[in-house]
């Protein structure tokens, strides 16, 4: 139960952090990506804040033998740069720039009850299911690894 409540608190804090930083307004994401237009550097400060904190805490926390509410760590250990990583990130980035929504923002802004986040969220789910289908049918990911 601690495990679940922990995840809930993390989600809640994450959403509030996103809200404070202004990222829940897609205009700010587009503004950050618009380096050749009217650039809005705010997201850079957000990334610096998040990475700055976690860069330090990651090292401190990993000194523990185990996490507090679990017997083992679930941290990716892969190192190699694969076509799947690059092509996937490229596709993700194009979508991110076109819409101004990453998955975290799309879930959180559902709470606004506005139409646009719902459209984007449903489309993200569709995109994930499309990946699942193609991966199952033709081993898409392993072919690109």
């Amino acid at each position: 139960m601690k495990y679940n409540i922990g995840a809930l608190i993390v989600g809640l804090l994450f959403a509030i952090g996103l809200g404070l930083s202004g990222i829940l307004q897609p205009a700010n994401i587009i503004g950050f990506l618009d380096i050749f237009g009217k650039w809005n550097p705010t997201l850079l400060f957000t990334m610096a804040g998040a990475v700055g904190v976690h860069f330090i805490t990651y090292r401190l926390i990993r000194k523990r033998k185990t996490p507090m509410f679990s017997k083992e760590w679930f941290i990716p250990t892969r190192q190699e740069i694969t076509p799947a990583l690059v092509i996937g990130s490229l596709i993700f980035g194009i979508g991110w720039g076109l819409g101004g929504y990453c998955p975290t923002v799309s879930v959180t802004t559902l709470a606004s009850f506005e139409t646009r986040p719902i459209i984007v969220f449903v489309s993200i789910i569709f995109g994930m299911l499309l990946f699942w289908f193609l991966d199952k049918k033709m081993n898409l990911k392993s072919r690109l690894e």
């Binding site: 989600g11 809640l12 804090l13 804040g49 976690h54």
Partner: protein
């Protein structure tokens, strides 16, 4: 402008604390696309915490809606079909690339993972190109 970057930094620090708690408590990376995917395509015995996390995000969003609704303004940037195309690319790309802005961009870059650093550079550059495209084609409102 000054308050904007201070708020941006403050929000980032809160996000950094959130992902640190996920690591300290549950030993996990806070990769939101993977968390959502794990609900869609469930793995036995690894589902409930994902729902709790998603509910947490929604509760956070709701608390903003009632305290500072201007932070949750989902302004219309582009036509609806572009929003839909954008979502499909985001969902598909995040799964093929093994993560999104939270998993690669925040958690991965923090632990200096080469994969996440490459992913973050690639998706930021692609995003910038997409915004130029929107502007050039006049599809950006």
């Amino acid at each position: 402008m000054e308050t904007e970057w201070v708020m941006g930094l403050a929000g980032g620090v809160v996000i950094g604390i959130a992902v640190s708690l996920m690591l300290l408590w549950n030993g996990r990376v806070t990769g939101v696309s993977s968390i959502v995917y794990g609900v869609l395509v469930p793995i036995k015995g690894d589902i409930s915490w994902r729902w709790y996390f998603i509910v947490g995000l929604l509760l956070g969003g709701l608390s903003l809606k009632f305290t500072a609704p201007e932070l949750l303004a989902a302004e219309l940037q582009t036509k609806a079909w572009i929003g839909s195309l954008a979502g499909i690319l985001v969902g598909f790309g995040a799964m093929l690339g093994g993560g999104c802005t939270s998993g690669h961009g925040v958690c991965g870059v923090s632990r200096v993972s080469p994969r996440s650093i490459v992913a973050t550079i690639v998706f930021m550059a692609a995003g910038m190109a997409a915004v130029v495209l929107l502007r050039k084609t006049g599809l950006y409102i």
